[in-house]
Symmetry: C2
Subunit: 249 residues, 2 copies
DNA sequence: GCTATAGTTGTGGTCTGACCATAGTGGTCT
DNA sequence: AGACCACTATGGTCAGACCACAACTATAGC
């Protein structure tokens, strides 16, 4: 047994193999940590490190206690892992906020055009749009619904990868979006405009007008960030974080 | 101290806070595991679980030994984390291969159009293209260079988020791409065509012809998967894995 | 006999202490 | 001056113990 890879990596590899060859599928239970440790000839702590990674990545869900609901269960909820990854990378300046926004713009415009072209189930989106009409919402509540609305469009497109990415992108800059809202001169006016734009976007999609849907969504997002001047990453006074400081390597 | 969040989560939160307020930046050292454990009042194993997560997510790099190069150092290499996340989600059927391909198509077409419109440093891409002209490459070698070529386009666009996503998307289906290559009737013909298409794509970008660049890149990727009939996920005989099997929840 | 309560068991969550491997550091001997 | 060797700090790993929790089970009380 080559132990040059670290012990927890062999655990990860073992589980990944089981996933790939189909012997482990969503809904299945992983063996108990102690059993797994004994089977693979590693310590329980190494098993736990691997499971922790899988948990953060959205591969498993753990539950204490006994019985059929306890233990580690394979799930496949990529949004959580995507959010964690992007949120931390933004925090560490690995991702620039403006790149996140640009990517969101890119993805979501394409989603809108795709939905308008190929159709999709927009019931959830419409429901969220209705919920946002309430006048009693706080800024945070409104923005939370707004986030859900945008993610719901991605989900309607039927592409799980894009949906997870959208959720991650939106969550990673949640605090920036909120901070931007507080800088607005007149929240009531802006939120009314956002509501109207949402309505128009959905209408364009349902009218199968891909070009309009794409344009409206683009302007919707770009407009918000332009209005609020979402800042460059504040804690990075260094100049080279601006443009792709890629070391060619 | 509320310990309803698990111990390792408090460690993660602590480090994330330090990243956000700027007291921890790329290149900095984390305190030794034992010190961190003592400071936060948790066991070393809990600290290690948090560090393991950060390592997989591409936030830190650890090194054994002593001296200034040892210990956990903040880095920000999102590609690794993105690749791990997507690879595992594909393995667990959380991501359908066709969704990964569709997303790649979407992102990369946009990248090509963007590069043609706004320009970018294509030296790396051209170098990879030259390297691919060799006739002595095996399929695996060629495809590895191909992957690098496509990622290099994303990097040239200057958007770190898109670059990391592209790397993750490509790595997650590496085995499928390779398997597809082996089903080809005539690898020499196909690889020659791929080479030619790469050249045309780069030419279109340098000619600032966004529409052509987008179309050529789209056809390039779509053509390969059409030719090789990249399969649906094999270990999933269930029917509902085809279209967005989204449980409305 | 039925129900309520109190063990029992199996599981993850955590901590402690120990030991090993590794890589710098510094001192010592030639 | 150079080579060698112990020392030290660090991550990597393991073993064992204990706790918290949830389901199951046996017993006591009615």
């Amino acid at each position: 047994m080559a132990d040059s890879p670290r012990a927890w990596e062999t655990v990860l590899a073992h589980i990944e193999s089981a996933l790939i060859d189909g012997s482990l599928r969503p809904g299945d239970h992983l063996p108990p940590e102690r059993t797994l440790a004994a089977e693979l000839g590693v310590g329980r702590s190494s098993v736990r490190e691997a499971l922790r990674v899988l948990e953060v990545l959205g591969l498993i869900r753990t539950q204490t206690g006994s019985g059929p609901h306890a233990g580690a269960i394979i799930v496949a909820t990529p949004s959580g892992g995507m959010s964690a990854l992007m949120r931390l990378q933004v925090a560490a300046n690995g991702f620039a906020v403006q790149d996140v926004v640009a990517t969101r713009l890119l993805l979501e415009s394409a989603i809108a055009a795709d939905l308008a072209t190929r159709g999709g189930d927009l019931a959830g989106s419409r429901q969220l749009l209705d919920a946002m009409q309430s006048d009693t919402l706080t800024e945070a509540e409104f923005l939370a619904l707004d986030a859900q609305f945008h993610v719901s469009l991605a989900e309607a497109s039927g592409n799980e990868v894009v949906a997870a990415m959208m959720a991650g992108l939106r969550n990673s800059i949640e605090s920036y979006v909120l901070a931007a809202a507080e800088r607005l001169a007149d929240w009531a006016t802006t939120s009314a405009r956002l509501r109207q734009e949402h309505t128009h976007i959905l209408a364009a999609i349902e009218a199968r007008d891909a070009a309009s849907a794409r344009r409206l969504l683009h302007d919707h997002i770009a407009g918000y960030y332009a209005e609020t001047q979402v800042p460059r990453i504040p804690p990075a006074p260094l100049a080279d974080s601006r443009l792709a400081g890629r070391t060619p390597h």
